[in-house]
Symmetry: C2
Subunit: 790 residues, 2 copies
């Protein structure tokens, strides 16, 4: 077993695979990585690859491969956005009256409303709990500091602070590392993958949600350089996946409602709505939420769907807003639409001039550079973590260490800071620390560190000139940059949005201050708050590289359309500059997991590839009426592990291509085997009830593995008639279709299998997600990723 | 010739069809309309239809059919969003380096920037000219009224007003009716159709733009109940279509740039950007613009495209904003992002309570009802106009009549109004009319009528309580409702957005006033401005029935996310209630033109239809190497007028289906014939240069008709080899594919022709837009529209 290697990955604790005992890291040194060949003649390269793969699989063990981001994992399955229009389905649809469709439509709306409502409630819960706990924590520490400032012995305060932080973080890290590793991080990469059509195991389960919510509270209260916004997106998605199915597999409750929606097509639509509701609750940006979902998930734009997604977003932001207003004793004041909002930028005081736009764009470029640096550091850190920090206890220890270091660094920074500011009569600082400042003054560094990051961002945006001096901001940027970079990827639930905004706001404000000090005229227009906003946008754009949705989110969070153009230009510049060096943070993490992620279009220079070169072949086909034994053998073959099988008129013995007549999925075959839908049995037991769509829906989404289905030796000789269950009209393309054309069809319809046929309609190959995802545009033109079983 | 009937339609002046001399209206009474059969067995109905159609066409004249909205016109052609991936295209793409693709991408961005800039400039031009001219007009009339109020003889003022208005409107109507009828109306239905994939003749020409811009100025200055916002969308689209092609066919100038973009796929993308830029300039709503384009146009969501569209929108709104700020001597104040903006609704003064939401929804329902009434009246008016008012001179006369009546009604309303309001010291009214009010007071009815509608809307939103009394508002709503209804559909360029908002704002404010007067508590929260906003949203939603984009447009125009939820709920209610009675205004006009418009999804209850029943068959196929004579004959056959021809291995004599090997378009064949690409000539003249993609692009989009191409008797005997030019991998579906599945493929990929093949890959039929568009969900279930040659 020494050769079975395993990555510490999103799905590392897949119980499905049973005994995974030891967890040797996959990476035995990336220098072993075979150099990637430039694609010369793909067809030959392809064949070679396949032969190697087959040899390995034949010897019964997955090939040990060096880990790097030039791999595509075969372990991820695809979602099936294409309806399986088999006879059962068509019969059901034909039986349904217009009224029934209306009812379905209404229940979709109800579900979306529920999703929005619950997501808003969760956001509200997180916000209130964090505020309460953080309030207690800061009050205790503040009292302690005040007590020891005069008396000396501030080291005790430091220890208190570090211990408090570490214990919260430890709690969160233990939950995540030991119970549900998929709940780590912001969850945005995972949701991106899910919406892209990749099935990430355990990502939309109830347990994940619970751990995520508790985890994020712990890490924010624990004073890590994290935000609570990213996880909201994941939470919304889980809520959606749960509510829309009308049952919980974890709780073993089936409410017998919404059974029609128990398939990938419908579920993914609801998950889009959930993700949008999450964004909306996090940033008070309902339109931004819709655009986020569309940017990540949409293939075919569906107006009613979009409209429903918008409804969910809207309900979510208003639920949050309403309950928070009740909590703050300002019932009905709906002006705090999100977990974070940037406060209002009044256009008169904060207007910008045309000649500032180049300045903004320069800041965008700087944001792109810093973002690329952040991503680069985080990339190596992640590699390091995958290689060495893969045991849960190590992960918890690292998290605790980070928490302690964060507290210590903050304390030292505050301690040595000499930036004292007079306390305004109506001071907005929640916990002003006097420390060594004169009476009536407070330590300015402390407002940045000794606060939840959301508040710090807001004070950087809105505090009047002179609230911070340049040195404070510079030091703060420097330390927070590295702290945030170290924190992202820890085994705790937390987002990177707020830290990015905070770093950017700090150096943006610094830019504003420097500008004002260099020229005398600039001091009239160089409002530091304005530059903090631009810096925040630049830094966030440089790190996550989202485009349209981020612009709209920022616009909605500032509540001001006037800043639309500069924010957009800044985000564009940051993206262009950043992309030159390094990908976006989420994309890096997706790549490190070797997820077969489909981008929007095929690589521009791939017109010379055709379906013939891209497809997998030969394909395992089934007969219309097939022997049970053959089916069981095919499904049990772990080396191939295919999920879709073309059904042909007659499989020929010499592997000649046969005429296509349908497509059937592994999951369907398993249900058929489980219910023993054999021709012989049907004849003998006439009373046996016909298999219905309901049987497939009940098994969805956790279809049993083939190993759990017992088929006796007698039964193996029976026959199965697939006609009724297969999809008789799968989409096909001819052999000579160019890759961009194949890609477009595949992507636009959200397919999982695309059959490649010759001009006689005979099955020549099958195109799946991995076949398309492995071509990507590298620095040196078109590159092909390796496929790996891990 | 008496039997050749013609509709007065969007494309009534198609010079292509040559001598159209007399313009007898198509409608000889809609009672002649054959009752629509419920679809029983479609296949038989189909056959019957075809036989009738064939009989008619055989006798050489189009069938005279009664006009109603249950028809689909065959005269509209489709855009081809699918790339023709023939050998020429693939060779070009394969030759292109990665750098070349980058350059293309950059030029796309440059074009979008230009589109935004020019659209913004046009909006700015319209705004300034309207403001200047209207200012002069109102000043002249006001002076006149002031002079005659005391002296008596106000009838002279009335005449002056009516004459001034009528002359402006006459000018506009003459331009539109005589020179470019397609420039009439808002242009939104036409752009909707274009983005949907229907080629509307002359809709994106330069001449149309010029007439549109001048026309809209005339009609707004002429005091009609119209707005200048709708036409901006059309203007943006024309700008986009012009700029992106790098040439103007009207001006006969070819700049030899952007030649790559000379095809439907690229052009439609740019037109989307143009429409978005138009919305953005009109309402200061860049995000709303993007969503409008997506809602109307998107099939496959493309992230880079959306991002570019957003860029164009953003540039457009900021160009407008910047130039307007310069014009208003407030350079750099970018707080007026659109032609209309609703002013800022401060959330404190204008907050709403949860218990107001049912009230809002009731107003939404009222808006839906009034909208349905509006649409119903306008529907019959349009039918009337199609039947009787189809000559240009009659159209001009009607427009002049409406202008005079509008002025007269307004005058009478003002004259008899007794609603005097004290003039505030910093009065916002531009032209306060004292009339019979005491000194220091002004006539409140006059502020509503004696003003550009944009200003009236704004004052209804923002004027303090008590500015209008209930009677004034009620009378105003009543008269303006009928005036606006009469005006829409006149042969002038004008939009319906602003009149709808104005009607809604008036009755909304009335609701607010009534509410405040009924209960004593209500007077504290029932701010009339807030109810005016909700009423405006309800009325607009009830008339146009847009959903997502309209919500976002309204949100951006109010500059306030707080009103998002109520606006959305109101628009939803208005749409649901309105849809119960009547379709949206734009949809009605599209239907009256019998445009084969594809909705988002196939009708819900159409699963029992398959490609076999839906497709057109038999199909005219061509051989791979075909005789020139045959091709010319097929193309010249006016009775069929097909645009796409499957290429097969060997056309059999007895109409047996033959094996598919490609698809070729009429336009391609015409270019081939024009350049005489015959096998024999290629052999004899070896020096003849090979046909290139450029030749096709140069001919785009106005391919010559087949009649203009001379083919000698000798040449008719030559052969043409289509292999290189046909698309060798057209999308196909099997015969048994269900209609929703066919529809999804067709819609998602923006196809024009979809070949239906049997299990031997033989051509059995062809599905085009009309085959899919004719199924729609009526009151009594699935209905089928008739196809008509007009």
């Amino acid at each position: 077993m020494a050769n079975i290697t395993k990555k510490v990955s999103w799905s590392s604790r897949c119980d499905e695979f049973g005994a995974v005992g030891e967890e040797t890291p996959l990476l035995n040194g990336s220098d072993q990585a075979r150099p990637l060949r430039q694609i010369g003649r793909l067809s030959t390269v392809d064949l070679e690859e396949e032969i190697i793969a087959e040899e390995d699989s034949a010897s019964g063990r997955p090939k040990e491969i060096a880990h790097n981001e030039k791999l595509l994992s075969l372990k991820f399955e695809s979602l099936d956005y294409d309806n399986i229009e088999n006879q059962l389905f068509l019969e059901e649809e034909r039986r349904m009256s217009f009224l029934a469709f209306r009812c379905l439509e209404i229940s979709r709306w109800v579900i979306c409303g529920l999703i929005g409502f619950l997501t808003g409630l969760i956001a509200c819960f997180i916000d209130i709990v964090v505020e309460q706990l953080a309030g207690i924590k800061y009050k205790v520490i503040k009292e302690n500091i005040v007590r020891f400032t005069e008396a000396g012995g501030l080291s005790i305060s430091l220890i208190l602070w570090a211990v408090l932080n570490s214990s919260f973080v430890m709690l969160g890290a233990i939950m995540v590392a030991f119970f549900e590793p998929i709940a780590a991080g912001s969850g945005i990469p995972q949701i991106k993958c899910y919406l892209n059509g990749v099935k990430i195991p355990r990502v939309v389960r109830l347990k994940t949600l619970v751990i995520k919510v508790c985890g994020v509270i712990c890490s924010v209260v624990g004073g890590l350089a994290v935000g609570k916004e990213g996880p909201m997106i994941h939470s919304g998605a889980v809520v959606a996946a749960g509510v829309s199915q009308g049952r919980s597999t974890s709780l073993k409750r089936d409410f017998k409602i919404f059974e029609y929606f128990r398939r990938d097509t419908e579920k993914r639509d609801f998950v889009s709505a959930g993700a949008a509701a999450g964004v909306s609750a996090a940033f008070g940006a309902p339109v931004g939420g819709v655009l986020f979902s569309l940017e990540e998930g949409a293939s075919f734009w569906n107006q009613m769907l979009t409209w429903r997604i918008f409804f969910a977003s809207m309900i979510s932001t208003f639920t949050l807003n309403f309950f928070l207003s009740v909590y703050h004793n300002k019932t009905g004041d709906l002006s705090n639409p999100g977990l974070i909002n940037f406060g209002s930028f009044e256009s008169e005081a904060m207007g910008y001039n045309l000649y500032e736009i180049p300045l903004f764009m320069a800041m965008g470029a700087l944001g792109g550079l810093l973002g690329a640096l952040f991503n680069f550091l985080n990339y190596w850190l992640t590699i390091f973590r995958i290689r060495y920090v893969h045991r849960p206890c190590l992960q918890v220890m690292e998290a605790v260490l980070v928490a302690a270091v964060t507290a210590a660094v903050a304390f030292i920074m505050i301690y040595f800071s000499v930036d004292c500011q007079p306390l305004a009569p109506d001071h907005t600082e929640e916990y002003p620390l006097q420390l060594f400042c004169a009476d009536g003054e407070y330590n300015s560094m402390a407002t940045a560190f000794f606060n939840t990051p959301e508040r710090s961002v807001r004070s950087l945006f809105h505090n009047p000139r002179g609230t911070y001096n340049a040195l404070t901001l510079g030091l703060f940027t420097l330390t927070y940059f590295f702290l945030a970079c170290w924190t992202y990827g820890l085994s705790v639930s937390a987002g990177v949005f707020i830290p990015s905004l905070l770093i950017g706001a700090a150096w943006g404000r610094l830019c504003g201050i420097l500008l004002a000090s260099t020229t005398s005229t600039a001091s009239t227009w160089a409002d530091p708050g304005k530059y903090a906003l631009i810096g925040a946008a630049a830094q966030l754009g440089g790190i996550v590289r989202m485009t349209l949705s981020l612009t709209v989110i920022m616009m909605e969070a500032t509540g001001n359309v006037t800043y639309g153009l500069p924010i957009m230009l800044v985000l564009m510049t940051a993206k262009i500059v950043g992309d030159y060096f390094q990908e976006g943070l989420y994309d890096i993490h997706i790549k490190l997991q070797s997820v077969p992620f489909l981008h929007w279009e095929a690589p521009a220079t791939s017109h010379w590839l055709t379906a013939r070169e891209v497809m997998s072949s030969p394909v395992i086909c089934l007969n219309r009426i097939e022997k049970v034994g053959t089916i069981v053998d095919i499904l049990s073959n772990t080396s191939t592990n295919h999920n879709g099988f073309p059904v042909v008129v007659q499989v020929s013995v010499d592997d000649e291509p046969a005429k296509l007549c349908g497509l059937i999925l592994r999951s369907q075959l398993i249900v058929l085997l489980k219910h023993k839908v054999f021709v012989e049995l049907a004849r003998s037991r006439l009373t046996q009830r016909k298999l219905q769509l309901k049987d497939f829906r009940d098994a969805y989404p956790r279809f049993p593995p083939i190993q759990s289905i017992h088929v006796s030796q007698d039964e193996r000789e029976c026959m199965m008639d697939l006609t009724e269950f297969m999809n008789p009209t799968p989409y096909t393309v001819p052999l000579e279709t160019s890759l961009p054309r194949v890609f477009k069809l595949f992507r636009a319809l959200g397919l999982r299998h695309l059959v490649v046929v010759d001009d006689e309609n005979r099955v020549n190959g099958l195109v799946t997600r991995k076949d398309l995802a492995r071509y990507h545009l590298g620095k040196h033109g078109l590159e092909e990723l390796h496929l790996a079983q891990t």
